[in-house]
């Protein structure tokens, strides 16, 4: 059973006071939530890394959480920041080209639409969302994405770059 936001908020407030047991429970719950949250937008081979990066960010930025506010929107904001960071890092490396694992179906229907990463993709133009999804999430090479999408290879690269930039801008506006 998934822990509700009110409980997580309480655990976070206790963690900020130095309660290690509450903190351990919170981090395990956060890990599970993050795995569900990121699963459909991060390739399985990178999921652990991104989840761990978010957990480390949670730890280093513990003080930035205001305990009078809900916990999950705070965690989701940090997760999205790290996710875009992850996409940027992939853009700078050729790592994505060798990433061929199939994305698992999400079993997390309860995440609110407001926090959803899926919703961010719907806010991108179709040609950008499609190639980001193919190359950065599904592990297509640039050439494969070019063939599948009907866009030239250079246009695929441009659309990935513009799409990621746009994702960052959308996140900024929220």
């Amino acid at each position: 059973m998934r822990t509700d936001d009110a409980t997580l908020t309480r655990l976070m407030a206790m963690s900020q006071k130095g309660d290690k047991r509450a903190y351990a429970t919170l981090l395990f719950e956060a890990r599970n939530w993050l795995k569900s949250y990121l699963r459909r937008r991060v390739a399985p081979g990178h999921l652990e890394d991104v989840v761990q990066e978010v957990l480390v960010s949670l730890h280093t930025k513990l003080a930035s959480y205001d305990p009078s506010r809900p916990f999950l929107p705070w965690l989701a904001a940090i997760a999205r920041y790290r996710w875009v960071d992850h996409l940027r890092k992939l853009s700078r490396s050729d790592d994505a080209a060798v990433e061929t694992e199939v994305i698992a179906e999400s079993d997390e229907p309860a995440i609110t639409a407001r926090l959803s990463l899926e919703r961010l993709f719907t806010m991108l133009p179709e040609n950008q969302a499609r190639v980001i999804e193919m190359v950065k999430v599904e592990g297509y090479s640039i050439a494969e994405a070019s063939q599948a999408s009907g866009q030239s290879e250079s246009l695929v690269k441009v659309n990935i770059h513009r799409g990621i930039k746009r994702l960052a801008a959308i996140i900024e506006k929220e």
Binding site: A13, S15, Q16, K17, G18, K20, Y23, A24, L27, F28, R31, L47, E48, V51, Q52, L55, V56, S57, H59, T60, K61, L62, A63, S64, Y65, D66, P67, R69, P70, P73, W74, A76, A77, I78, R80, Y81, R114, L115, I171, E172, E174
Partner: protein, 217 residues
């Protein structure tokens, strides 16, 4: 999947071991810091420069109250947005600064209209020889508020560094010109619109490009 959980479990154990009590961010703490920066800048101006005679005599000019009030409001609105940005969350509206910017924008827009009507005479009317001091000192004194906000952002977790940088710059420039307006004796709309609006614009540009590298995490 067990391996994944195993590695993350080890990480979690390490993080739990390192846990120390922290002082949670509060909006009021951030605003206190920002307002202290604005107040300190105004105090320094009053100590280092000759304060406007109308202010000293307790009979301030209307244009002074109006312009400095608008810049103060803009500085506070932007500082409030910056303070909130240090505590990330999805779905929070932080657009109050936009309205304050629109209100303060009336001054430079008025100056522009006057310049179009009066032509080159408007430039002289703006008193550029004094204006450059307003520009320079406003940016300088604005650094106090700017530094306070950068400090706050560095402690926090801003998820939109570029916007945070831009707003930090506007807040700093507005605070700086609010402070220096106590030492500026010129009350013309041309002067205020141009030379008091310019530091806000320049600080915004500086903030947009200089602040993000300082606050990324």
């Amino acid at each position: 999947m067990k391996t994944m959980n195993g590695k993350t479990d080890t990480l979690i154990s390490g993080l739990v071991d390192q846990l120390e009590p922290v002082r949670p961010f509060r909006f009021s703490h951030g605003m206190t810091l920002a307002l202290t920066g604005i107040g300190l800048a105004a105090l320094l101006v009053m100590l280092l420069f000759a304060v406007r005679p109308d202010v000293v005599s307790g009979q301030p000019q209307g244009i002074f109250l109006l312009a400095s009030g608008l810049f103060l409001l803009l500085g506070i609105a932007c500082a409030a947005s910056v303070v909130m940005m240090a505590s990330p969350r999805i779905g929070s509206g932080r657009n109050g600064w936009g309205w304050a910017l629109a209100m303060a924008g009336v001054l430079p827009i008025s100056a522009l209209i006057l310049a179009l009507i009066r032509g080159s005479a408007a430039w002289q009317e703006s008193e550029p020889s004094h204006g450059v001091y307003c520009l320079g000192y406003a940016i300088l004194f604005g650094l106090i508020t700017g530094a306070a906000l950068v400090l706050w952002l560095r402690r926090g977790a801003p998820t939109s560094p570029e916007r945070a940088g831009l707003l930090t710059g506007i807040a700093a420039g507005s605070a700086g010109i609010f402070a220096f307006s106590f030492a500026c004796p010129i009350d013309s709309v041309m002067h205020i619109g141009l030379w008091h609006g310019l530091p806000v614009t320049l600080s915004a540009i500086i903030g947009r490009f200089a602040v993000p590298p300082l606050i990324r995490w």
